[in-house]
């Protein structure tokens, strides 16, 4: 499915990262694997450090911290945005929507469109699409898009498949109308037949959490995880990305009439370094144009990794200048999406620690 959005742009990005940092080497003893094997994996996948929330910290805590930072520093006024979209897979509660909790905790105005979206690694692009659609309404002047996840709280520390790469974080992206006649091209695909490839089996109504679903089990791969934990079929996810994403981006560029060379940066979801370098090799994109360093420094925080890759790698350039960027998100659902836009002139593009 192809989309075009006219006269919309991103005007600021803030990433909020837990101050609590853990290292892969410290955590190796928790895994049921010889250290030598884990160290080889560290080198290939780019695992080093990741940022995790302390027990009890929720998505709304990270989001409120980020918005308060913007208000306090005069980067955003509390009355100047008319919609607040939160994309998360780890809400504070089943109900109410966490976006409403954020609105309430900050005493934001009642004339505010609050919306939660349950999405993951493609969630930045899906959130942007929703923001662009809301901005078609005259009454909506600016949209605050929050991507946030604290999935470390739903990942087994004894699961070497998932735990080393998980990171917790939030991002706040300000989206508004563009005075220039700009065009953003996007595309999106979904395949729910493969929904079990990335899932948390228990905790919803299909399989409620019980003492039994909290028991750690070895399902045959030397990793211990419970049904309450995130489960990822690494091989299936890897194959999905390598098969589906290159043609998706080729189609996007073809529909936009743009060549690969005309793109300054390919900012992809930061799954892990190996996966991204294989993607770059397949697409014949130099590694310097496709950053893959977020997992190494912060961990993979689902829908937050694209804005985090931007703030970590391109902040100086995008505060003063512009770049043509191709964004690509892929993951839970399964969902895969890409977007081509001119990005820059940002009024803020930075990272802060929580708390």
């Amino acid at each position: 499915m192809n989309f075009t959005f006219h006269r919309k742009h991103i005007s600021g990005i803030l990433a909020v990262i837990p101050a609590h940092e853990r290292s892969f080497v410290e955590e190796m003893k928790n895994f049921n694997f010889p250290e030598s094997r884990s160290l080889k994996l560290k080198e290939v996948m780019g695992y080093d450090k990741h940022r995790l929330v302390e027990p009890g910290v929720c998505v709304s805590d990270l989001a409120v911290c980020g918005l308060e930072h913007l208000f306090k520093n005069g980067l955003l006024r509390r009355e100047e945005f008319d919609a607040l979209i939160l994309v998360t897979q780890s809400p504070d509660h089943f109900m109410p929507p966490t976006s409403s909790i954020i609105q309430g905790r900050l005493n934001l105005k009642h004339d505010l469109f609050c919306l939660d979206i349950n999405q993951g690694c493609a969630g930045f692009l899906i959130g942007l699409m929703q923001a662009f659609l809301l901005l078609e309404q005259e009454s909506i002047r600016k949209v605050v898009l929050i991507n946030a996840d604290v999935l470390s709280r739903k990942t087994s520390p004894k699961d070497r498949n998932s735990y080393p790469l998980i990171g917790d974080a939030a991002s706040i992206t300000l989206v508004e109308r563009d005075a220039e006649d700009s065009v953003i091209h996007a595309n999106l695909k979904m395949d729910g037949t493969r929904h079990e490839v990335l899932m948390i089996p228990a905790g919803g109504l299909r399989l409620p959490s019980t003492p039994e679903t909290a028991l750690l089990e070895d399902v045959g791969d030397n990793n211990l995880r419970a049904k309450d934990h995130l489960r990822m079929d690494g091989s299936a996810v890897f194959n999905f990305v390598q098969v589906e994403v290159p043609p998706l981006i080729e189609d996007l560029l073809a529909s936009a009439g743009a060549s690969m060379d005309a793109v300054d940066y390919f900012i992809c979801h930061q799954a892990n370094r190996f996966m991204l370098q294989k993607l770059a090799d397949k697409m014949k994109v130099p590694y310097a144009k496709m950053p893959s360093n977020v997992v190494t420094h912060f961990g993979n925080s689902s829908g937050v990794t694209i804005p985090m890759a931007i703030t970590f790698n391109l902040a100086d350039r995008l505060r003063t200048g512009h770049a043509r960027v191709c964004l690509a998100g892929f993951g839970v659902g399964l969902t895969w999406s890409s977007m081509l836009m001119r990005l820059g002139g940002l009024s803020f593009c930075e990272m802060i620690d929580y708390p």
Binding site: V44, R160, D221, S235, N239, D281
Partner: protein
């Protein structure tokens, strides 16, 4: 240059890979070992095995890996 047997021995020293016809089924390689193997083969031979080729059937046994390397112009 390291041979395939030497590379596999480095990754999982506890196994004799010449006796198995299915490394995955026999529990000798898991999906993360496969990734370590690909990264080592890439570096050793100066190639980049494409993501779409990184599937268990291409790493099932010595013959399958040899066939994959031939596809990238590497004669074992």
């Amino acid at each position: 240059m390291k041979s395939l047997a030497e590379i596999l021995k480095e990754i999982r020293p506890e196994f004799n890979f010449s006796t198995s016809t299915d490394f995955m089924a026999d529990g000798m390689l898991d999906s993360f070992d496969m990734i370590t193997l690909v990264a080592t083969l890439d570096k050793t031979h100066g190639i980049s095995i494409q993501g779409v080729d990184i599937v268990p059937e291409h790493f099932k046994n010595l013959q399958a890996i040899d066939a994959l390397l031939r596809k990238y112009g590497i004669r074992p």
